[in-house]
Amino acid sequence: MTATQDIYPQTPTLDQDIQQLAQSWRHPRGIFGWLSYTTHQAIGMRYIVTAFVMLLAGGAEALMMRTQLMHSNNGYLGPERYNQIFTTHGTTMMFLFAVPMMEGMAIYLIPLMCGTRNVAFPRLNAFGYWMYLFGVLFLYWGVFTNAAPDVGWFAYPPLSGPQYTPGKSTDYWAQMITFTEVSALCVAAELIATILKMRAPGMSLNRMPLYVWSILTQSWMIIFAMPAIVLASSYLLSDRTVATQFVNPAEGGDPLLYQHIFWFFGHPEVYIIFIPALGFVSSIVVAHAQRELIGYTAMVLAQIANGFIAFGLWVHHMFATDLPQIGEAYFTASSMMIAITSGVQIFCWIATLWSGKPRLTTALLFVYGFIAIFVLGGLTGVILASVPLDLQVHDTFFVVAHFHYVLIGGAVFPLFGAFYHWFPKFTGRMMNERLGRINFWVLFAGFNLTFFPMHILGLKGMPRRIYTYSPEMGWDQLNLLATIGAYIIAFGGLLFLVNLFWSRKFGAIAGNNPWNADSLEWAAASPAPNYNFEYLPAVTSRYPLWVPAEERTFVTGTRTDRREVLVTTLMDAQPHHRYILPRPSIWPLIAAICVTVGFAGSVFNGWYITWGTIISALALIGWFWPKRPLDPAHD
């Protein structure tokens, strides 16, 4: 506290040229210019829009499945088509919607919340987006050419191996994973660097908003989890295309090892999706309860502990395989431990809401919905952590119910809350609250109607991944309920879209800080200009916008004639040096195209890896080739 106050000079001079600032941060014109954008608002919004389209695609696939299961002996989808649809649904929702959506929100919000002008590596950010987009196009090109993957979103060998699934569909799937992991790793690296080195002066680690903590945790999890899926998908792809023997038991390979490596990634993946959502909840709770968060330190520690424990419980996805009993006991215990860290957070939010003055906005309604649904999903999680119960309901609809409760309840409800909360910052206009409330209740009712009956169906023995069932099983009524619920969710989604487009045009003008929220993004104009802040803020509190206006401090002395930001020290965020961010560039797109040629081509012919590597290396050299002026001290 004292250290940061020492650095405030006594005689202020505000001499920055705002017009020059806007000029330096202006987007390049034309279609070529549009492809060269590197601002975090533009890239973040591209992620959000693309991921939202993927949510609609995944939702359409879910509706097709529910329509097929509406009643027994339905002939709407055949077994092959049904396999393709559930695989594409799972793959789309996990890899192409959930993770990129959380990344897009973080790319948009983190530089604003940290009080800087862009992410640390803006061109890498653009490259990551293009890789994601090409991954989307690659998978859906397969889907639309009748080569949709059909071996489940985890593609276990030997079913997914070259003997049992010939053709290209699984290759498309495995290589799509490569695209998304490159993208996710780019985003994780740049967000960690942004959070650690570019926070506003005075925003020491213990003053970081919980959302920033959640993204820091999530990004480190990506760094440690994604390499595992790199290996798993490469095992599969190279076994299929160049005849390696990684998962072929006949030559000493091991299919079970694939499951271990896949879930060493796959379980943290769920937390990669859900930890940012916890950050949304913290932001919404603080802003809408108008009160400082209770148990900040406990929340931060619980979130980081979540991140660690997530790497120690992957085997609970594999209880039905032949494992030593000591292993099962260990993984049961570690799976149950998650209930402790999640419980700490739930209690802190409830305490904050209880002692605050909550305004029942749509955003907060979604948080209430999150708490209700997520706690229920957590409870079935504790049930599934126990080996005998898990074996009983393994591969039944009980599991489907459980993970939709934790994933939709734990991630999608907070995400909708976040849309309602941050829409004013994205667009400058408020979303319609009345329609928002209806939107919430329709989604909440539809969700429970769809997924609650699945618990009972699972207990009655209905297995997952079956395309139909016979009438004497007695599953008809509950399935019909679930299907009706699915259409109600779809209607809720439609209401959201209507609200989105209506509010974008006719919503009330928001102003900088419509919720009287506490964190720095609300100090910027709405929508946030490319440079975010006219003067970079310095902070003296964990809730910087709740300190009296006359006590706020601004940074002067960064140059406005180029894209300059401030680098601060890691722990205490003391100003350290100035840092010039690169200008817009087409090179990230060129590099992404070159890498795509290598990745996509290698599915058909191994030599594409060689040629793709060479042209990618040339593109990277072009990207990094120095442009004049070379020395920032002398221009």
């Binding site: 202020p12 660097a193 080195k197 290996l231 090892l257 002395g557 920032p632």
Partner: protein, 205 residues
């Protein structure tokens, strides 16, 4: 406006060549990613290896140890060149950067040549069996990164030689060094796994 509290930063340097630079953190993360991948691959190798009675599988000859062991000498010494270049980049010494990077490239090239000679003498490939797949994956992935780093060191050397460099490129020379240290450091456990792994771990009965 006179009541506004401000913090003037105009006296701060417009760049920095040290561990405070965001780019250093970016490279550091790259090292974490690669390191995690190699660690999982080593774990997977032992998972497969400990489930086999005979290792390497019949027909695969033991890799020779002499040449790869000797190759460690130029490889480890190449870090001296990297260190020299990195420190020279901080001081803005052009001759130091050129000397350091050239030394690094020469020694790393010798180590690479020795590795490839030994690689050629293997009597199995990635298709033969699981041990073949793993050995080729270790060699292939590490050599891919290795050559990639040599290419970019070569480009940086070229930029310094033609004088087309400023603080940004000097920072590049500096952060390039942590990737090289990593590639050398991770090679040592990989070397042990590939060339000594079949001998060190007793075959289970």
């Amino acid at each position: 406006m006179t009541n506004v509290r401000t913090l003037d930063v105009s006296h701060l340097k417009p760049y920095e060549i040290s561990t405070q630079a965001p780019l250093w953190w970016g490279q550091f993360m790259f090292v974490f990613i690669e390191g995690t991948m190699f660690c999982i691959l080593i774990g997977a190798y032992f998972y497969v290896r400990l489930r086999m009675d005979v290792w390497p599988p019949p027909g695969d000859q033991f890799p020779h140890k002499l040449l790869p062991s000797l190759a460690l000498i130029p490889l480890i010494l190449s870090c001296v060149g990297t260190y020299w270049a990195g420190e020279a980049a901080r001081r803005d010494s052009r001759s130091g950067m050129i000397g350091g990077m050239a030394l690094n490239l020469v020694l790393a090239g010798i180590a690479l040549w020795m590795r490839i000679v030994e690689w050629h003498s293997l009597n199995f490939n990635w298709m033969t069996d699981a041990q073949g797949s793993y050995v080729w994956a270790f060699l292939g992935l590490h050599t891919f990164d290795y050559i990639g780093d040599l290419v970019f060191t070569g480009v940086l050397l070229l930029l310094v030689l033609i004088g087309r460099y400023g603080p940004k490129q000097r920072l590049g020379v500096y952060v390039d060094s942590i990737v090289w240290y990593f590639l050398v450091a991770i090679w040592i456990p990989i070397y042990i796994v590939i060339y000594w792994g079949p001998v060190l771990v007793e075959t289970q009965q």
